[in-house]
Amino acid sequence: MEKFVQVENVQMVFNTRSGRFVALQDVNLNIRQGEFVSIIGHSGCGKSTLLNLVAGLTEATSGVLLLGGREIAGPGPDRAVVFQNHSLLPWLTCFGNVYLAVERVFGRDEGRATLRKRTEDALALVGLSHAMHKYPHEISGGMKQRVGIARALAMQPKVLLLDEPLGALDALTRANLQEELMRLVAGAGTTTIMVTHDVDEAVLLSDRIVMMTNGPAATIGKILDVKLPRPRRRLDLTDDPAYNRCRSEVLKFLYERQHKDAA
Protein backbone atom coordinates (compact mmCIF):
# COMPACT_ATOMS: atom_id res chain seq x y z
CA MET A 1 0.00 0.00 0.00
CA GLU A 2 1.56 3.25 -1.06
CA LYS A 3 1.25 5.87 1.66
CA PHE A 4 0.16 9.38 0.82
CA VAL A 5 -0.74 10.77 4.21
CA GLN A 6 1.33 9.31 7.03
CA VAL A 7 0.71 9.93 10.70
CA GLU A 8 3.42 8.39 12.82
CA ASN A 9 3.52 8.14 16.60
CA VAL A 10 1.77 11.42 16.96
CA GLN A 11 1.17 12.85 20.38
CA MET A 12 -0.66 16.07 21.01
CA VAL A 13 -0.43 17.81 24.36
CA PHE A 14 -2.22 21.04 25.18
CA ASN A 15 -0.89 23.30 27.89
CA THR A 16 -3.99 24.38 29.70
CA ARG A 17 -4.48 26.50 32.76
CA SER A 18 -4.98 23.38 34.83
CA GLY A 19 -1.82 21.78 33.50
CA ARG A 20 -0.83 19.53 30.62
CA PHE A 21 -3.66 17.87 28.79
CA VAL A 22 -2.74 14.89 26.59
CA ALA A 23 -5.34 14.93 23.82
CA LEU A 24 -3.80 12.38 21.44
CA GLN A 25 -1.33 9.62 22.15
CA ASP A 26 0.39 7.10 19.85
CA VAL A 27 -1.68 7.87 16.79
CA ASN A 28 -0.56 5.96 13.71
CA LEU A 29 -2.39 6.12 10.41
CA ASN A 30 -1.48 5.71 6.75
CA ILE A 31 -3.79 6.83 4.00
CA ARG A 32 -3.50 5.96 0.30
CA GLN A 33 -3.86 8.52 -2.41
CA GLY A 34 -7.50 8.85 -3.38
CA GLU A 35 -8.71 7.06 -0.30
CA PHE A 36 -11.76 8.21 1.65
CA VAL A 37 -11.26 7.84 5.38
CA SER A 38 -13.77 8.71 8.06
CA ILE A 39 -12.89 9.42 11.66
CA ILE A 40 -15.56 8.59 14.18
CA GLY A 41 -15.53 8.83 17.95
CA HIS A 42 -17.24 10.40 20.88
CA SER A 43 -17.40 14.14 21.27
CA GLY A 44 -14.21 15.62 22.64
CA CYS A 45 -12.01 12.61 21.88
CA GLY A 46 -9.71 14.56 19.59
CA LYS A 47 -11.03 14.22 16.05
CA SER A 48 -10.74 17.90 15.25
CA THR A 49 -7.34 17.92 16.87
CA LEU A 50 -6.14 15.19 14.53
CA LEU A 51 -7.60 16.93 11.51
CA ASN A 52 -5.91 20.20 12.46
CA LEU A 53 -2.61 18.38 12.65
CA VAL A 54 -3.00 17.08 9.11
CA ALA A 55 -4.07 20.53 8.00
CA GLY A 56 -0.89 21.89 9.55
CA LEU A 57 -2.80 24.40 11.64
CA THR A 58 -1.24 22.99 14.79
CA GLU A 59 2.01 21.21 15.37
CA ALA A 60 2.26 17.80 16.99
CA THR A 61 4.00 17.70 20.35
CA SER A 62 5.88 14.65 19.15
CA GLY A 63 5.77 12.32 16.16
CA VAL A 64 5.62 13.26 12.49
CA LEU A 65 3.01 13.85 9.82
CA LEU A 66 3.91 13.43 6.16
CA LEU A 67 2.13 14.28 2.95
CA GLY A 68 3.51 12.63 -0.17
CA GLY A 69 6.66 11.78 1.75
CA ARG A 70 7.28 15.35 2.87
CA GLU A 71 6.80 16.61 6.37
CA ILE A 72 3.74 18.77 6.94
CA ALA A 73 5.28 22.01 8.13
CA GLY A 74 2.27 24.28 8.04
CA PRO A 75 -1.09 24.85 6.41
CA GLY A 76 -1.46 25.29 2.68
CA PRO A 77 -4.10 25.32 -0.04
CA ASP A 78 -3.20 21.78 -1.12
CA ARG A 79 -5.07 20.68 2.01
CA ALA A 80 -8.47 22.34 1.97
CA VAL A 81 -10.36 22.34 5.25
CA VAL A 82 -14.08 22.48 5.81
CA PHE A 83 -14.17 23.72 9.38
CA GLN A 84 -16.58 22.39 11.95
CA ASN A 85 -18.05 25.86 12.39
CA HIS A 86 -17.90 26.72 8.68
CA SER A 87 -15.63 29.77 9.28
CA LEU A 88 -17.00 31.96 6.53
CA LEU A 89 -15.80 35.53 6.54
CA PRO A 90 -18.87 37.57 7.49
CA TRP A 91 -17.88 40.61 5.46
CA LEU A 92 -17.74 38.69 2.18
CA THR A 93 -20.72 37.30 0.30
CA CYS A 94 -20.93 33.57 -0.38
CA PHE A 95 -19.44 34.32 -3.76
CA GLY A 96 -16.69 36.42 -2.18
CA ASN A 97 -15.80 33.70 0.29
CA VAL A 98 -15.39 31.09 -2.40
CA TYR A 99 -13.73 33.52 -4.79
CA LEU A 100 -11.04 34.36 -2.25
CA ALA A 101 -9.98 30.71 -2.21
CA VAL A 102 -10.31 30.24 -5.97
CA GLU A 103 -8.28 33.35 -6.64
CA ARG A 104 -5.56 32.17 -4.32
CA VAL A 105 -5.23 28.77 -5.97
CA PHE A 106 -5.81 29.58 -9.64
CA GLY A 107 -5.31 33.35 -9.77
CA ARG A 108 -1.80 33.05 -11.11
CA ASP A 109 -2.71 31.22 -14.30
CA GLU A 110 -6.29 32.19 -15.03
CA GLY A 111 -8.18 35.31 -15.97
CA ARG A 112 -10.90 36.84 -13.90
CA ALA A 113 -13.71 35.41 -16.02
CA THR A 114 -12.45 31.86 -15.50
CA LEU A 115 -12.09 32.44 -11.78
CA ARG A 116 -15.64 33.72 -11.59
CA LYS A 117 -16.85 30.72 -13.53
CA ARG A 118 -15.09 28.35 -11.16
CA THR A 119 -16.64 30.11 -8.18
CA GLU A 120 -20.11 30.02 -9.68
CA ASP A 121 -19.74 26.35 -10.58
CA ALA A 122 -18.63 25.46 -7.07
CA LEU A 123 -21.65 27.21 -5.58
CA ALA A 124 -23.98 25.63 -8.13
CA LEU A 125 -22.59 22.26 -7.10
CA VAL A 126 -23.86 22.69 -3.56
CA GLY A 127 -27.12 24.15 -4.80
CA LEU A 128 -26.50 27.73 -3.76
CA SER A 129 -26.56 29.62 -7.05
CA HIS A 130 -29.55 31.58 -5.82
CA ALA A 131 -27.82 32.69 -2.59
CA MET A 132 -24.52 33.55 -4.21
CA HIS A 133 -24.63 37.24 -3.36
CA LYS A 134 -25.96 36.90 0.15
CA TYR A 135 -23.87 37.45 3.22
CA PRO A 136 -23.27 34.61 5.70
CA HIS A 137 -25.58 36.14 8.30
CA GLU A 138 -28.38 36.11 5.75
CA ILE A 139 -28.33 32.36 5.17
CA SER A 140 -29.08 29.33 7.30
CA GLY A 141 -26.55 27.20 9.17
CA GLY A 142 -26.82 24.41 6.64
CA MET A 143 -26.29 26.82 3.77
CA LYS A 144 -23.19 28.15 5.46
CA GLN A 145 -21.82 24.66 5.70
CA ARG A 146 -22.48 24.17 2.02
CA VAL A 147 -20.60 27.36 1.17
CA GLY A 148 -17.72 26.01 3.26
CA ILE A 149 -17.82 22.81 1.23
CA ALA A 150 -17.97 24.73 -2.04
CA ARG A 151 -14.97 26.77 -0.97
CA ALA A 152 -12.94 23.66 -0.21
CA LEU A 153 -13.96 21.76 -3.35
CA ALA A 154 -13.29 24.75 -5.60
CA MET A 155 -9.66 24.68 -4.49
CA GLN A 156 -9.20 21.22 -6.03
CA PRO A 157 -6.99 20.19 -3.14
CA LYS A 158 -4.81 17.10 -2.93
CA VAL A 159 -6.32 16.34 0.43
CA LEU A 160 -9.77 17.34 1.54
CA LEU A 161 -10.25 17.65 5.29
CA LEU A 162 -13.84 17.73 6.42
CA ASP A 163 -14.82 18.36 10.04
CA GLU A 164 -18.45 17.25 10.38
CA PRO A 165 -19.27 18.99 7.13
CA LEU A 166 -22.88 17.86 6.99
CA GLY A 167 -23.72 18.17 10.66
CA ALA A 168 -26.23 21.02 10.44
CA LEU A 169 -28.18 19.72 7.45
CA ASP A 170 -31.60 18.16 7.20
CA ALA A 171 -31.76 14.51 6.16
CA LEU A 172 -32.62 15.15 2.52
CA THR A 173 -30.03 17.84 1.84
CA ARG A 174 -27.57 15.75 3.70
CA ALA A 175 -28.26 12.70 1.56
CA ASN A 176 -27.93 14.74 -1.61
CA LEU A 177 -24.65 16.27 -0.53
CA GLN A 178 -23.28 12.92 0.55
CA GLU A 179 -23.88 11.60 -2.94
CA GLU A 180 -22.49 14.75 -4.51
CA LEU A 181 -19.41 14.55 -2.33
CA MET A 182 -18.89 10.89 -3.16
CA ARG A 183 -19.12 11.60 -6.87
CA LEU A 184 -16.80 14.61 -6.74
CA VAL A 185 -13.96 13.15 -4.72
CA ALA A 186 -14.13 9.92 -6.70
CA GLY A 187 -14.02 11.88 -9.96
CA ALA A 188 -11.09 14.03 -8.91
CA GLY A 189 -9.35 11.26 -6.99
CA THR A 190 -9.13 13.50 -3.94
CA THR A 191 -7.80 11.96 -0.78
CA THR A 192 -10.40 12.74 1.86
CA ILE A 193 -10.46 12.65 5.63
CA MET A 194 -13.86 13.30 7.14
CA VAL A 195 -14.83 13.59 10.77
CA THR A 196 -18.38 12.51 11.38
CA HIS A 197 -20.75 11.42 14.11
CA ASP A 198 -23.07 9.69 11.69
CA VAL A 199 -22.44 5.96 11.38
CA ASP A 200 -24.46 5.58 8.17
CA GLU A 201 -22.61 8.44 6.57
CA ALA A 202 -19.28 6.94 7.53
CA VAL A 203 -20.14 3.54 6.08
CA LEU A 204 -21.67 4.95 2.92
CA LEU A 205 -18.78 7.20 2.01
CA SER A 206 -15.64 5.61 3.38
CA ASP A 207 -13.07 3.14 2.23
CA ARG A 208 -11.99 2.87 5.84
CA ILE A 209 -13.45 4.01 9.12
CA VAL A 210 -11.05 5.06 11.85
CA MET A 211 -12.61 4.64 15.28
CA MET A 212 -11.08 6.62 18.10
CA THR A 213 -11.08 5.78 21.78
CA ASN A 214 -12.28 8.31 24.30
CA GLY A 215 -9.86 10.91 25.60
CA PRO A 216 -7.79 11.93 27.36
CA ALA A 217 -4.85 10.37 25.55
CA ALA A 218 -7.17 9.22 22.81
CA THR A 219 -5.82 6.96 20.13
CA ILE A 220 -7.08 4.89 17.24
CA GLY A 221 -9.01 2.01 18.71
CA LYS A 222 -9.89 0.18 15.55
CA ILE A 223 -9.88 0.59 11.79
CA LEU A 224 -12.65 -0.93 9.74
CA ASP A 225 -12.28 -1.69 6.03
CA VAL A 226 -15.50 -0.98 4.22
CA LYS A 227 -15.40 -3.44 1.35
CA LEU A 228 -18.45 -2.29 -0.52
CA PRO A 229 -18.18 -1.89 -4.29
CA ARG A 230 -18.37 1.58 -5.78
CA PRO A 231 -20.29 3.45 -6.99
CA ARG A 232 -22.48 3.00 -3.96
CA ARG A 233 -26.16 3.78 -3.95
CA ARG A 234 -27.84 4.44 -0.66
CA LEU A 235 -31.03 2.59 -1.53
CA ASP A 236 -29.21 -0.53 -2.71
CA LEU A 237 -27.26 -0.66 0.50
CA THR A 238 -30.04 -0.53 3.06
CA ASP A 239 -30.54 -4.28 2.99
CA ASP A 240 -27.05 -5.26 1.96
CA PRO A 241 -25.66 -7.64 4.61
CA ALA A 242 -22.09 -6.35 4.22
CA TYR A 243 -23.29 -2.80 4.76
CA ASN A 244 -25.21 -3.73 7.85
CA ARG A 245 -22.25 -5.69 9.21
CA CYS A 246 -20.04 -2.61 8.92
CA ARG A 247 -22.69 -0.49 10.49
CA SER A 248 -23.18 -2.68 13.51
CA GLU A 249 -19.44 -3.05 13.97
CA VAL A 250 -19.00 0.70 14.26
CA LEU A 251 -22.00 1.01 16.53
CA LYS A 252 -20.70 -1.77 18.71
CA PHE A 253 -17.33 -0.03 19.03
CA LEU A 254 -18.91 3.27 20.01
CA TYR A 255 -21.32 1.63 22.42
CA GLU A 256 -18.78 -0.59 24.14
CA ARG A 257 -16.25 2.17 24.57
CA GLN A 258 -18.84 4.28 26.20
CA HIS A 259 -19.77 1.41 28.45
CA LYS A 260 -16.24 0.74 29.50
CA ASP A 261 -15.86 4.35 30.56
CA ALA A 262 -19.05 4.34 32.52
CA ALA A 263 -18.10 1.17 34.41
Partner: protein, 291 residues
Protein backbone atom coordinates in the same frame (compact mmCIF):
# COMPACT_ATOMS: atom_id res chain seq x y z
CA UNK B 1 -30.91 56.70 23.90
CA UNK B 2 -31.12 55.86 27.58
CA UNK B 3 -28.62 56.62 30.30
CA UNK B 4 -27.90 52.92 30.56
CA UNK B 5 -27.00 52.85 26.89
CA UNK B 6 -24.76 55.87 27.33
CA UNK B 7 -22.85 54.05 30.03
CA UNK B 8 -22.33 51.14 27.67
CA UNK B 9 -20.76 53.32 25.01
CA UNK B 10 -17.36 53.07 26.66
CA UNK B 11 -17.16 49.32 26.25
CA UNK B 12 -15.63 47.88 23.08
CA UNK B 13 -18.06 46.48 20.53
CA UNK B 14 -19.09 42.88 20.95
CA UNK B 15 -17.14 40.41 18.87
CA UNK B 16 -18.60 40.27 15.37
CA UNK B 17 -21.76 38.23 15.59
CA UNK B 18 -21.29 34.89 13.91
CA UNK B 19 -23.94 32.99 15.76
CA UNK B 20 -27.08 32.73 13.67
CA UNK B 21 -29.30 32.74 16.75
CA UNK B 22 -28.00 36.05 17.98
CA UNK B 23 -28.59 37.65 14.60
CA UNK B 24 -32.11 36.35 14.48
CA UNK B 25 -32.75 37.80 17.91
CA UNK B 26 -31.56 41.19 16.74
CA UNK B 27 -33.67 41.10 13.62
CA UNK B 28 -36.83 39.71 15.17
CA UNK B 29 -38.47 42.93 16.41
CA UNK B 30 -38.31 44.45 12.93
CA UNK B 31 -40.31 41.73 11.29
CA UNK B 32 -43.34 42.12 13.57
CA UNK B 33 -45.47 44.96 12.21
CA UNK B 34 -47.91 46.15 14.89
CA UNK B 35 -51.33 47.59 13.99
CA UNK B 36 -51.71 51.39 13.82
CA UNK B 37 -53.12 51.86 17.33
CA UNK B 38 -50.18 49.99 18.78
CA UNK B 39 -47.86 52.17 16.77
CA UNK B 40 -49.34 55.31 18.29
CA UNK B 41 -49.06 53.86 21.79
CA UNK B 42 -45.49 52.75 21.16
CA UNK B 43 -44.65 56.22 19.90
CA UNK B 44 -46.11 57.85 23.01
CA UNK B 45 -44.28 55.41 25.27
CA UNK B 46 -41.14 56.24 23.41
CA UNK B 47 -41.47 60.03 23.32
CA UNK B 48 -43.09 60.65 26.71
CA UNK B 49 -40.18 59.92 29.09
CA UNK B 50 -37.62 62.18 27.38
CA UNK B 51 -40.15 65.01 27.02
CA UNK B 52 -41.08 64.65 30.67
CA UNK B 53 -37.43 64.59 31.67
CA UNK B 54 -36.77 67.79 29.77
CA UNK B 55 -39.79 69.47 31.31
CA UNK B 56 -38.68 68.60 34.84
CA UNK B 57 -35.18 69.82 34.02
CA UNK B 58 -36.44 73.16 32.74
CA UNK B 59 -38.74 73.53 35.75
CA UNK B 60 -35.89 72.98 38.21
CA UNK B 61 -33.78 75.41 36.22
CA UNK B 62 -36.52 78.03 36.40
CA UNK B 63 -36.88 77.53 40.14
CA UNK B 64 -33.16 77.85 40.76
CA UNK B 65 -33.10 80.95 38.54
CA UNK B 66 -35.99 82.48 40.52
CA UNK B 67 -34.00 82.40 43.76
CA UNK B 68 -30.57 83.27 42.34
CA UNK B 69 -28.80 85.41 39.74
CA UNK B 70 -28.80 82.59 37.19
CA UNK B 71 -30.69 83.56 34.02
CA UNK B 72 -33.88 81.52 33.68
CA UNK B 73 -35.05 79.48 30.70
CA UNK B 74 -37.13 82.28 29.19
CA UNK B 75 -34.39 84.87 29.34
CA UNK B 76 -31.86 82.40 27.97
CA UNK B 77 -34.22 81.42 25.18
CA UNK B 78 -34.68 85.04 24.14
CA UNK B 79 -30.93 85.52 23.99
CA UNK B 80 -30.57 82.29 22.06
CA UNK B 81 -33.03 83.49 19.41
CA UNK B 82 -30.88 86.58 19.04
CA UNK B 83 -27.65 84.62 18.88
CA UNK B 84 -28.95 82.18 16.29
CA UNK B 85 -30.66 84.80 14.17
CA UNK B 86 -27.25 85.79 12.85
CA UNK B 87 -24.77 83.02 13.55
CA UNK B 88 -22.29 84.01 10.86
CA UNK B 89 -21.58 87.67 11.41
CA UNK B 90 -17.98 88.78 11.38
CA UNK B 91 -16.92 91.94 13.21
CA UNK B 92 -13.20 91.39 13.39
CA UNK B 93 -11.15 88.63 15.00
CA UNK B 94 -12.63 88.97 18.47
CA UNK B 95 -16.29 89.29 17.62
CA UNK B 96 -17.75 86.66 15.34
CA UNK B 97 -21.03 84.77 15.21
CA UNK B 98 -21.48 81.53 17.12
CA UNK B 99 -21.56 79.61 13.82
CA UNK B 100 -18.01 80.69 13.02
CA UNK B 101 -16.87 79.83 16.51
CA UNK B 102 -18.33 76.33 16.31
CA UNK B 103 -16.90 75.80 12.82
CA UNK B 104 -13.44 76.95 13.90
CA UNK B 105 -13.50 74.56 16.86
CA UNK B 106 -14.70 71.75 14.62
CA UNK B 107 -11.94 72.39 12.12
CA UNK B 108 -9.30 72.22 14.87
CA UNK B 109 -10.81 68.99 16.11
CA UNK B 110 -10.93 67.71 12.53
CA UNK B 111 -7.30 68.44 11.80
CA UNK B 112 -5.96 67.22 15.14
CA UNK B 113 -8.13 64.15 15.10
CA UNK B 114 -7.36 63.42 11.44
CA UNK B 115 -3.64 63.46 12.08
CA UNK B 116 -4.12 61.29 15.15
CA UNK B 117 -6.08 58.80 13.03
CA UNK B 118 -3.34 58.73 10.39
CA UNK B 119 -0.78 57.91 13.07
CA UNK B 120 -2.86 56.03 15.61
CA UNK B 121 -4.67 53.48 13.47
CA UNK B 122 -1.59 52.13 11.66
CA UNK B 123 0.32 52.19 14.94
CA UNK B 124 -2.49 50.25 16.59
CA UNK B 125 -2.33 47.62 13.84
CA UNK B 126 1.42 47.22 14.28
CA UNK B 127 1.18 47.03 18.06
CA UNK B 128 -1.62 44.48 17.88
CA UNK B 129 0.15 42.38 15.28
CA UNK B 130 3.71 42.37 16.56
CA UNK B 131 3.98 41.23 20.15
CA UNK B 132 7.42 42.75 20.41
CA UNK B 133 6.19 46.22 19.52
CA UNK B 134 3.31 45.77 21.93
CA UNK B 135 5.71 45.08 24.78
CA UNK B 136 8.00 47.88 23.68
CA UNK B 137 5.24 50.49 23.58
CA UNK B 138 3.35 49.37 26.67
CA UNK B 139 5.33 51.36 29.25
CA UNK B 140 5.31 54.54 27.16
CA UNK B 141 1.60 54.39 26.50
CA UNK B 142 0.73 53.48 30.08
CA UNK B 143 2.60 56.49 31.39
CA UNK B 144 1.45 59.04 28.80
CA UNK B 145 -2.18 58.03 28.50
CA UNK B 146 -3.41 59.13 31.95
CA UNK B 147 -1.87 62.60 31.52
CA UNK B 148 -4.49 65.30 31.18
CA UNK B 149 -4.50 66.50 27.58
CA UNK B 150 -4.13 70.11 28.69
CA UNK B 151 -0.78 69.33 30.25
CA UNK B 152 0.49 69.03 26.68
CA UNK B 153 -0.53 72.57 25.84
CA UNK B 154 2.61 74.31 27.17
CA UNK B 155 4.76 71.84 25.23
CA UNK B 156 2.76 72.63 22.10
CA UNK B 157 3.09 76.37 22.68
CA UNK B 158 6.79 75.97 23.26
CA UNK B 159 7.34 73.93 20.10
CA UNK B 160 5.03 75.82 17.74
CA UNK B 161 5.17 79.31 19.31
CA UNK B 162 1.55 79.85 18.19
CA UNK B 163 -1.87 79.20 19.67
CA UNK B 164 -3.51 77.55 16.67
CA UNK B 165 -1.05 74.65 16.13
CA UNK B 166 -0.72 74.25 19.90
CA UNK B 167 -4.47 73.66 20.22
CA UNK B 168 -4.35 71.18 17.36
CA UNK B 169 -1.42 69.47 19.00
CA UNK B 170 -3.43 68.98 22.20
CA UNK B 171 -6.27 67.47 20.18
CA UNK B 172 -3.81 65.22 18.39
CA UNK B 173 -2.32 63.86 21.59
CA UNK B 174 -5.62 63.40 23.38
CA UNK B 175 -7.34 61.59 20.53
CA UNK B 176 -4.35 59.38 19.74
CA UNK B 177 -4.61 56.88 22.60
CA UNK B 178 -8.15 55.59 22.17
CA UNK B 179 -7.46 54.82 18.52
CA UNK B 180 -4.14 53.12 19.17
CA UNK B 181 -5.49 51.03 22.02
CA UNK B 182 -8.78 50.03 20.40
CA UNK B 183 -7.17 49.14 17.09
CA UNK B 184 -4.52 47.08 18.84
CA UNK B 185 -7.15 45.31 20.93
CA UNK B 186 -9.12 44.60 17.77
CA UNK B 187 -6.14 42.98 16.10
CA UNK B 188 -5.43 40.72 19.05
CA UNK B 189 -9.09 39.69 19.13
CA UNK B 190 -9.46 38.53 15.55
CA UNK B 191 -11.19 35.16 15.93
CA UNK B 192 -8.92 32.18 15.44
CA UNK B 193 -11.37 30.87 12.82
CA UNK B 194 -10.71 33.79 10.51
CA UNK B 195 -6.97 33.53 11.03
CA UNK B 196 -7.20 29.84 10.18
CA UNK B 197 -8.93 30.61 6.90
CA UNK B 198 -6.06 32.91 6.04
CA UNK B 199 -3.54 30.29 7.05
CA UNK B 200 -5.11 27.43 5.11
CA UNK B 201 -5.28 29.60 2.00
CA UNK B 202 -1.77 30.82 2.68
CA UNK B 203 -2.83 34.31 1.61
CA UNK B 204 -0.34 36.95 0.54
CA UNK B 205 0.30 39.63 3.17
CA UNK B 206 -1.79 42.16 1.26
CA UNK B 207 -4.77 39.80 0.86
CA UNK B 208 -4.45 38.77 4.48
CA UNK B 209 -4.62 42.40 5.51
CA UNK B 210 -7.37 43.54 3.15
CA UNK B 211 -9.64 40.49 3.40
CA UNK B 212 -9.16 39.29 6.96
CA UNK B 213 -7.26 41.61 9.29
CA UNK B 214 -8.74 44.92 8.27
CA UNK B 215 -12.42 43.97 8.00
CA UNK B 216 -12.41 42.18 11.33
CA UNK B 217 -10.75 45.12 13.08
CA UNK B 218 -12.90 47.90 11.57
CA UNK B 219 -15.55 47.77 14.33
CA UNK B 220 -12.84 48.24 16.96
CA UNK B 221 -11.24 51.04 14.98
CA UNK B 222 -14.58 52.82 14.84
CA UNK B 223 -15.00 52.46 18.59
CA UNK B 224 -11.61 54.10 18.94
CA UNK B 225 -12.62 56.84 16.53
CA UNK B 226 -15.80 57.52 18.45
CA UNK B 227 -14.02 57.75 21.80
CA UNK B 228 -11.32 59.93 20.24
CA UNK B 229 -13.75 62.40 18.75
CA UNK B 230 -15.55 62.55 22.08
CA UNK B 231 -12.34 63.32 23.94
CA UNK B 232 -11.24 65.82 21.31
CA UNK B 233 -14.50 67.71 21.57
CA UNK B 234 -14.23 67.74 25.37
CA UNK B 235 -10.70 69.03 25.24
CA UNK B 236 -11.07 71.67 22.54
CA UNK B 237 -13.30 73.85 24.71
CA UNK B 238 -10.75 73.92 27.50
CA UNK B 239 -7.82 74.35 25.13
CA UNK B 240 -9.43 77.33 23.41
CA UNK B 241 -10.18 78.96 26.73
CA UNK B 242 -6.45 78.98 27.27
CA UNK B 243 -5.24 79.80 23.78
CA UNK B 244 -7.86 82.32 22.63
CA UNK B 245 -8.64 83.01 18.98
CA UNK B 246 -11.97 82.17 17.39
CA UNK B 247 -13.65 79.07 18.76
CA UNK B 248 -16.48 77.99 21.00
CA UNK B 249 -14.16 77.62 24.00
CA UNK B 250 -12.86 81.11 23.56
CA UNK B 251 -16.40 82.35 23.03
CA UNK B 252 -17.34 80.95 26.45
CA UNK B 253 -14.38 82.71 28.01
CA UNK B 254 -15.21 85.93 26.25
CA UNK B 255 -18.79 85.82 27.51
CA UNK B 256 -17.51 85.21 31.01
CA UNK B 257 -15.43 88.37 30.72
CA UNK B 258 -18.60 90.17 29.57
CA UNK B 259 -20.44 88.56 32.49
CA UNK B 260 -23.09 87.36 30.04
CA UNK B 261 -24.22 84.16 31.72
CA UNK B 262 -27.04 83.47 29.24
CA UNK B 263 -24.45 83.19 26.50
CA UNK B 264 -22.44 80.73 28.56
CA UNK B 265 -25.50 78.57 29.07
CA UNK B 266 -26.23 78.71 25.35
CA UNK B 267 -22.64 77.71 24.62
CA UNK B 268 -22.98 74.73 26.95
CA UNK B 269 -26.04 73.57 25.03
CA UNK B 270 -24.32 74.10 21.72
CA UNK B 271 -21.26 72.14 22.82
CA UNK B 272 -23.49 69.34 24.05
CA UNK B 273 -25.58 69.15 20.91
CA UNK B 274 -22.57 69.23 18.58
CA UNK B 275 -20.89 66.49 20.62
CA UNK B 276 -24.03 64.40 20.43
CA UNK B 277 -24.28 64.86 16.67
CA UNK B 278 -20.64 63.87 16.20
CA UNK B 279 -21.15 60.73 18.20
CA UNK B 280 -24.35 59.79 16.40
CA UNK B 281 -22.71 60.31 13.01
CA UNK B 282 -19.96 57.87 13.90
CA UNK B 283 -22.40 55.38 15.38
CA UNK B 284 -24.33 55.52 12.12
CA UNK B 285 -21.15 54.77 10.22
CA UNK B 286 -20.25 51.96 12.62
CA UNK B 287 -23.59 50.27 12.06
CA UNK B 288 -22.64 49.63 8.45
CA UNK B 289 -19.71 47.55 9.67
CA UNK B 290 -21.66 45.44 12.11
CA UNK B 291 -21.51 42.10 10.34
Amino acid sequence: MSVVQMAKIKTPPPAPVTDAGAVAAVRAPVSAVPPARDTVRKFLQWILPPVLGMAVFVAIWAMVAAVSDLPGPVKTFDTAVQVFSDPFYDKGPNDQGIGWNVLMSLSRVGIGFGMAALVGIPLGFLIGYFGFLNRAMAPIISVLRPVSPLAWLPIGLYIFKQAQPAAIWVIFISSLWPMVLNTAAGVTQIPQDYRNVGRVLNLSPWKLFSRILFPSVVPYVLTGVRLSVGVAWLVIVAAEMLTGGVGIGFWVWDQWNNLSVQHIIIAIFVVGVVGLLLEQAILLMARRFHY
